[in-house]
């Protein structure tokens, strides 16, 4: 793995940007905008149970009452009246056999390397195309252990899981949390439901891939993962979209429940197109001795607001957050993370790297809250920023709210520019300027690279490579 990691292969830059034109006409989309009627129509499409129908309408009401955030990057370019909140392929049956997925959708995912990835190294794969899941499959051996991996809608209609979903759905991220959580509550569609029973260790990762193909549309998938006592899971999500001239919106929601002494690793490689507003909310709660590990690579989108949050709710619960954000030309990525220590002896470790290039802006926000009951807790925050030229910008905004004397808290921030000396050093060994810079940036992003499975680490380095070559014109 070490050999491959910083090895950067050439890739076709159009890999993510191709569109499937044929498929654009072959879709069913609800009218743009947001009205109780449209939300009701989504409920109808999905055959929502009554509680969900009410939940959507209630969320819509909250959405209309809350203002857009006034502290981050401007989202004025996003007009929800012109976003189609629900777009599904005409053939939106869920398939368990890849061969049955409609040809043009299959073509899209094949070009993205899914589900080859599954055949090679995954325990299960889900693929969402616009608003609906088109494919879901989990290896038999994993299913036999009682592990459930399905789309949320069908799980909601199954007797064994309907109560479980009702009990957990948008309880960690309530619609009142912020405007786009409310929006999500109203129009969510697709996503994943994962349940790992007590003591079960899923040794190979599950993966979900989200593709937003339709122009001017929104994707609002909901991911709900419950890992019971002593269980282990690694879940990977990937996202991409082709570039359009109109704004697209992603307002997904991820809720992770980590049981006593359980561990959940949640890895993301996000490469939304540069017209995307990525207003995503992710949150995890850990019981006693439980551990959440966030691994996150953010490369795409025009504007991002993304701050995964860990609530350490049981004695000795732990959170590790490792991320890389790359803001290129025209991107304003406001990312970070939040940890709430709400029990004794809880620990958190935050290790982030932000890269900015061209007129890209990368802002890192962290918030660490240590409640008075969290005696003996520890938190360490390390954030590093790398600016690649004179135009790029990077900000670090750390916040700490410590309500006990008995806590060990550390924070370290470093902001720097790419070193000319290092570039010269690598060039003196025969590397071109762009190769040298790409290698330095890949190395800088290695905190995430070394945590990802090989093929994702390679993909991440490819993304860096594409960004860097772009930088050189």
């Amino acid at each position: 793995m070490a050999q491959e990691k910083a090895k950067i292969a050439d890739i076709d830059r159009t890999l993510y940007d191709f569109r499937n034109e044929e498929n654009e006409s072959n879709t069913y989309r609800l009218d743009e905008g947001l009205t109780p009627q449209i939300v009701e129509q989504i409920s109808k499409e999905k055959n929502d149970p009554d509680w969900m129908r009410e939940f959507r309408q209630k969320s819509l009401k909250i959405y209309n009452e809350i203002d857009v955030p006034n502290w981050g990057p401007s989202i004025d370019g996003l007009d929800i009246e012109h976003i189609a909140t629900y777009v599904k392929p005409k053939d939106n049956k869920m398939h368990a056999d890849w061969d049955d997925v409609p040809e043009e959708i299959k073509d899209t995912f094949d070009r993205l390397g899914i589900p080859e990835a599954e055949r090679e190294s995954l325990a299960g794969v889900g693929a969402q195309y616009d608003s609906e899941l088109v494919y879901h499959n989990v290896q038999k051996g994993v299913a036999d252990l009682g592990v459930v991996y399905s789309d949320l809608e069908s799980a909601m209609h199954k007797e064994e899981y309907s109560d479980m979903i009702k009990e957990h759905f948008m309880k960690l991220v309530p619609p009142t949390d912020h405007k786009f959580a409310a929006l999500h509550g109203a129009v969510w569609s697709g996503g994943s439901f994962v349940y790992v029973p007590k003591g079960v260790s899923v040794t190979i990762p599950l993966q979900s891939y989200f593709r937003l193909n339709a122009p001017g549309a929104g994707q609002f998938e909901h991911t709900l993962i419950i890992v019971e006592e002593g269980a282990y899971l690694h879940f990977i999500e990937g996202c991409s979209a082709p570039k359009y001239n109109v704004a697209n919106l992603h307002a997904g929601c991820v809720e992770l429940y980590v049981g006593k002494n359980a561990t959940l690793r949640y890895s993301t490689i996000e490469n939304w197109s540069k017209n995307m507003y990525n207003l995503n909310t992710k949150r995890a709660i850990c019981e006693e001795g439980g551990k959440i590990e966030w691994i996150s690579g953010s490369f795409g989108s025009h504007i991002s607001y993304l701050y995964p949050m860990s609530i350490l709710n049981g004695d000795g619960a732990r959170s590790e957050f490792t991320s890389v954000t790359f803001a290129g030309n025209g991107q304003n990525l406001d990312t970070g993370c939040k940890v709430v220590h709400n029990a004794p002896r809880t620990t958190s470790y935050i290790n982030t790297r932000s890269i900015s290039k061209g007129n890209g802006i990368s802002t890192f926000r962290s918030a660490v809250v240590v409640n008075s009951n969290a005696k003996g807790s520890k938190s360490a925050v390390s954030c590093q920023s790398l600016m690649l030229d004179k135009e790029s910008r990077s900000d670090t905004i750390p916040a700490m709210d410590i309500r006990t004397d008995d806590a060990d808290i550390g924070h370290e921030a470093k902001i720097g520019r790419i070193s000319d000396e290092a570039v010269f050093y690598l060039m003196s060994r025969g590397m071109s300027e762009e190769e040298a810079k790409a290698l330095i940036v890949s190395g800088f992003a290695d905190n995430v690279g070394k945590e990802l499975p090989l093929e994702y680490a390679v993909e991440m380095n490819n993304l860096i490579r594409v960004e860097m070559v772009g930088a050189m014109g």
């Binding site: 070490a2 910083a6 050093y425 690598l426 060039m427 060994r429 071109s432 190395g443």
Partner: protein
């Protein structure tokens, strides 16, 4: 001396408003060993990195030829690909990039061919033995947390892998203990034996030179080559220092 490998002609270079090299002439023949000496700040490293196309220094006049080809305005990577190598006085730390991946990247950059991990290990085996480098060392981040000796060994390892036609060794021996100097010298001898590459040794002392047969020595003071000679010049400078040269330069200014 044939002077047909590297030829520096009337080289003037410096940074904004400050000339550091003031008309340097230098000829190096294939396979020759040259020593470049001079007091601190005399322009030794500037000359070396300017030959390598260091963008920090602007060449205001003069030419640099390598194998008869004008390389004065080539970029550093292209110069390296022609077969020049510069061993840094202070090798740069590059976090997150392992020595293994770095060497592989450089091999591929210079040869333009893919080097598989297996092939790389095969090629690394002998040089690593010569330098007494453990394999675990390859998985450490390039120069990060390396001791002075380890950094220099890593430089010489790259020299042995890249097999350039001319290597400029900038104070490769400075700050090293006796054992480390011996290992590094062994590596340089290996380079000589293997490819009979030419060397410019920039040094303050003779420890590293005892392993080499010196063809020529040059003294640089205040951006000028003020004396040229054979190996005996090294001895002379060693016993007398640079004072006479410095006085000479001062006299010129008066």
């Amino acid at each position: 001396m044939t002077g047909n490998l590297l030829k520096v002609e009337g080289l003037h270079a410096g940074v904004e408003n400050k000339e550091i090299l003031r008309g340097v002439d230098l000829n190096i023949g294939a396979g020759e060993v040259h020593v470049l000496m001079g007091p601190n700040g005399s322009g030794k490293s500037t000359l070396a990195t300017t030959i390598m196309g260091d963008p920090r220094f602007e060449i205001t006049s003069g030419k640099i030829y390598f194998e008869g080809e004008d390389i004065t305005s080539l970029s550093t990577d292209k110069i390296a690909k022609k077969g020049l190598f510069y061993s840094f006085q202070n090798p740069i730390e590059v976090p997150g990039v392992t020595l293994r991946n770095f060497i592989r990247g450089t091999m591929e950059a210079v040869t333009g061919k893919r080097v598989t991990p297996f092939k790389l290990m095969k090629m690394l085996k002998e040089p690593m033995e010569v330098l007494g480098i453990d394999e675990a060392y390859l998985d450490r981040d390039l120069n990060v947390g390396f001791s002075g000796g380890e950094k220099k060994k890593a430089e010489i390892l790259q020299l042995l892998m890249l097999e350039p036609k001319l290597a400029i060794l900038d104070e490769t021996d400075s700050g090293l203990d006796v054992d480390a100097v011996q290992v590094v010298s062994k590596g340089i001898r290996e380079y000589r034996n293997k490819v009979n590459g030419a060397i410019i040794v920039i040094t303050h002392n003779t420890k590293i030179l005892s392993a080499l047969e010196v063809d020529a020595a040059h003294v640089i003071v205040d951006g000028n080559i003020v004396d040229n000679g054979d190996a005996s010049l090294v001895e002379k400078v060693n016993s007398q220092g640079f004072e006479t040269y410095l006085n000479m330069e001062k006299g010129k200014d008066l």
